[in-house]
Amino acid sequence: MMEYAIDVNNLTKKFGNFTAVDNISFNVKRGEIFGFLGANGAGKTTAMRILCGLSFPTSGKGTVAGYDIATQSENIKKSIGYMSQKFSLYDDLKVWENIRLFAGIYGVPEKEIEPRTEELLKTLDFTSERNSLVSKLPLGWKQKLAFSVAIFHNPCIVFLDEPTGGVDPETRRQFWEMIYEASDRGITVFVTTHYMDEAEYCDRVSIMVDGKIEALDTPLNLKNKFRVNSMEEVFYLLARKATRNE
């Protein structure tokens, strides 16, 4: 059994002369909630795309769910879930049709789809909405549904790209409860966010500045190291160093 869900060494991604990701190394333990922070343009999204198999690294090595990011992206794709910052279910499909479609895409066995859909709708308290079009749901509900769909196939890791943007605080709290539940089920959570209070909920966080990882530790250790009271201040101290514009 592998020790790390994600293990990255000296990963670099260049676009022409521009180094979007500059020689980063880190690892994420299984079942961990890993916060991946950084200002806009720091290189988070590029790094995440490489991990998801959407983009090849220019140099460096890494494994995701035990598979090599350069050669085994097909295997990686089967072992991860992904939720992008744009809301990403189909608006003109019904709730159950969305669940079915994505369950099918990720190869959930036919027999299991039906009972697990019912179970999911029950947990989310969505049973009455199973036949509603997704476009009719409030944003917070959609977001919760999108997360549930992303982990429906029990992936090894789920990547969340700013999942709580534009969502009210109450829904954000519920959303984080769902993230904890997923983590309890053994799913590794890799999350980017701009909300520093959310960074406090993570087991460990990394902060990217200008393509490099400037800090990586538990929120408590980071606050102690920089002698401040909140992650917000840690972030400011580090992000101030940035020379790169967006």
Binding site: R49, C52, G53, L54, S55, F56, E74, K77, K78, I80, Y82, M83, S84, Q85, K86, F87, S88, L89, Y90, D91, D92, L93, E97, R100, L101, F102, G104, I105, Y106, G107, L133, F159
Partner: protein, 367 residues
């Protein structure tokens, strides 16, 4: 395969749950064919003729009756002076003025042209020429009946209009409409629907998933392919039974070449979707770079032969030109498939080129 079918189903849902789009897709062929077939006819009808005749002789009365009896003409009246007809012409109440001189009498001595004059509104030269020709032929007919040899040409050729003896413009438009519609439905709709997923972010979700990207794209094409086939059948049925356009060639050949054209249009849609990022851009590119050239340069409305040389060359790269030409030969002229080999080869070549380019351009990874 199962996943592929699930995707096809999803694409059909996208279309059927958007009734407006569906209505446009299925209603457009009917509307267009009726527009082009009935309303936008290039034949000239309802020509109003004002007649100036200082003296009302029997001959003039007979000519007037002859003109009035023709289905193309309406006589607004016989006037003594030029004032009233000139006013009618300015108000567009009269299209043509037929003027007889005061000494008009064709049976006494040879009629010279000065005895009779046709005045027409040449602000639209094409119509003016056609109106004049119609009117002249009606008058010539009259004199021929009366055996006035001086006006009848000594040799009169017998004209036969091949393939379209009734000279109906619908014959000309039906292949053109097919060529236009396939481009709109296959190219525009496919590219818009692929780009829509890029915009909403679902494409990213799909690319992260284990599904092969090519499956996603192929699944997108299936519904539009099906819709195009439905439209092809609809158009052929309406043309045959409502507009009475013959489907003289072999149905097999007509469908064969249409399928090649549909596939070509789908490949073009895929190519556009791999270049642009927004639905608006996809729509604009399809409309500007495809619809206008198809309408103007394909020979659908304006004959390519009379275009300047540069545009004649340009029209060669427009697939619709070849498709429309082939369909005219097959449908209207009823020629066997051997006469459209050139068009088929060109269309196949274009389709293969487009498919290869779009497959090369198609990004497996979102970079």
């Amino acid at each position: 395969m199962k996943v592929f079918l699930a995707f096809v189903k999803k694409e059909f849902f996208h279309i059927f749950r958007d009734p407006r789009t569906l209505l446009i897709l299925l209603g457009m062929p009917v509307v267009q064919i009726i527009l082009f077939g009935f309303a936008l006819s290039v034949e000239i009808n309802n020509i109003n003729v004002a007649i100036i005749a200082p003296e009302r002789t029997e001959t003039i009365r007979q000519i007037t009756n002859k003109i009035a009896a023709n289905r193309y003409f309406t006589v607004t009246g016989i006037y003594d002076s030029e004032d009233k007809p000139a006013e009618l012409m300015r108000r567009e109440k009269a299209n043509v003025i037929l003027r007889f001189n005061h000494d008009f009498n064709p049976f006494v001595r040879p009629v010279s042209e000065t005895q009779m004059q046709i005045i027409t509104n040449a602000s639209n030269p094409n119509t003016a020429v056609q109106e004049t020709m119609y009117l002249q032929s009606v008058i010539n007919d009259y004199f021929r009946e009366k055996q006035v040899s001086s006006v009848t040409p000594t040799i009169s050729p017998v004209v036969r209009y091949l393939y379209n003896p009734g000279m109906q413009s619908a014959f000309n438009f039906v292949p053109g409409i097919l060529g236009l519609l396939m481009i709109i439905i296959c190219t525009m709709m496919t590219s818009v629907s692929i780009v829509r997923e890029k915009e909403t972010g679902t494409m990213e979700e799909l690319l992260v998933s284990p599904v092969k990207p090519i499956n996603i794209i192929l699944a997108k094409m299936v519904p539009y392919f099906a819709l195009s086939c439905v439209n092809l059948v609809t158009i052929l049925l309406i043309s045959r039974f409502v507009l009475n356009v013959p489907v003289s060639g072999s149905i097999f050949a007509i469908f064969g070449i249409s399928l090649i054209y549909i596939i070509l249009a789908l490949a073009l849609g895929m190519l556009i979707s791999s270049i642009v990022k927004t639905q608006v851009a996809a729509m604009l590119i399809s409309a500007m770079s495809l619809m206008l050239p198809v309408i103007i340069l394909s020979g659908m409305i304006f004959p390519i032969e009379s275009a300047p040389e540069f545009f004649r060359w340009l029209s060669c790269i427009i697939p619709a030109r070849w498709y429309i030409a082939a369909m005219r030969k097959l449908m209207i002229e009823g020629l066997p498939i051997t006469y459209v080999i050139k068009e088929i080869v060109i269309l196949c070549g274009m389709a293969i080129t487009l498919i290869s380019i779009s497959l090369l351009k198609f990004k497996n990874r979102l970079e």
